[in-house]
Symmetry: C2
Subunit: 201 residues, 2 copies
């Protein structure tokens, strides 16, 4: 067995509770990127961390809890809101958000898909987590566009638009569509969709 992840050289096994938790989440995250959750035995997580399986259950009562913790932690880390130019026009601010997301996927394609893949994993709490994460995104984008008090239709439509954008960027092949073209289109698409939804509320 290779030396445990997150420990200097396999020697020290005893850790503080917080450090252990963090390490386990880190290890789980590594493994999750190469295989879906139900193909990831806790045995392997424990082995990769250099501890016994039992200890894992000491920190996370069930496998689902562990999975939820991993997804929640990494979701926060990945979706940390990008900086948007404060004084710029709405177009530029939206473009910044789009560009930020495209860059996110470019850099972490594997991680990101692994994260979203979890939505179907089956655990209701994970589904809810992803749903609420998406919900939280809508006001942020609305804010960047300089809108407030959006109608129900607007919020619904933008939520759908965001999911569509996710899919678009993930399915995007840089060889057939240049990056600029993608970002331009998505930016214009968002603003158009917003106007359309607001125009008839």
């Amino acid at each position: 067995m290779a030396s445990p992840v997150g420990t200097p050289a396999g020697l020290p096994t005893r850790m503080s509770a917080d450090a252990r938790r963090a390490q386990l989440i880190e290890v789980g995250w590594e493994l999750l990127q190469s295989r879906p959750i139900h193909e990831m035995p806790l045995d392997e997580v424990a082995a990769a961390a250099g501890i016994s399986r039992t200890l894992l259950f000491h920190y996370f009562p069930t496998k689902a809890d562990f999975y939820l913790a991993v997804v929640a932690t990494m979701g926060e880390r990945l979706l940390r809101p990008p900086r948007i130019p404060a004084g710029a026009a709405p177009v530029e601010r939206i473009r910044a958000l789009v560009d930020g997301f495209v860059r996110l996927v470019e850099r972490n394609r594997l991680s990101y898909t692994a994260l979203v893949r979890g939505a179907g994993g089956g655990d209701q709490r994970v589904v809810d987590l992803i749903a609420s994460t998406r919900d939280a995104l809508v006001p942020r984008w609305l804010d960047a566009a300089g809108r407030e008090n959006a109608s129900a239709l607007t919020r619904l439509a933008l939520r759908g638009w965001l999911v569509g954008m996710e899919e678009t960027v993930i399915a995007w092949d840089p060889q057939s569509v240049p990056r600029d073209e993608l970002v331009n289109h998505l930016t214009a698409s968002f603003l158009t969709e917003l106007e359309l939804a607001e125009g008839r509320h």
Copy 2:
């Protein structure tokens, strides 16, 4: 145990191979609507069908194979293309497609979400199946809009749009957004998105 599903009264156990396969898929489909795949033990499927677990493995070599068969069969049944008015204008034809999908979700919300939920189930073949099903949808919508030879960006954008629409309709709450408003918006949104994508290819 209740009388097996798909048999007259629990009496006859022996069936033709095709009938048995169909019955098992039907049973699996019923159970899939109330819980995700990995919470559906094959024991229960077998019990619900009134057969032994072993027989299930006789027809489907692995659980994943069984699941794939269920998703494929039901996907075809659900996504049977709706009739679109032949001579009508593109707007009306797109509206017909949108309306058809909304109705589909209205009638089979549970089934539909159960089906898509499988995307994350982890089996690569199921993921591919759903992806290719979505891909196949793009030309159909393009066709209804009277477009051909779409650019790569157009196809990519519309694929994303379709996924966004899926999400929108599933998340739609009829109490806060009237049905007409939803259909109108989605119809206009599609056409706008199409124009936008084509305008700069």
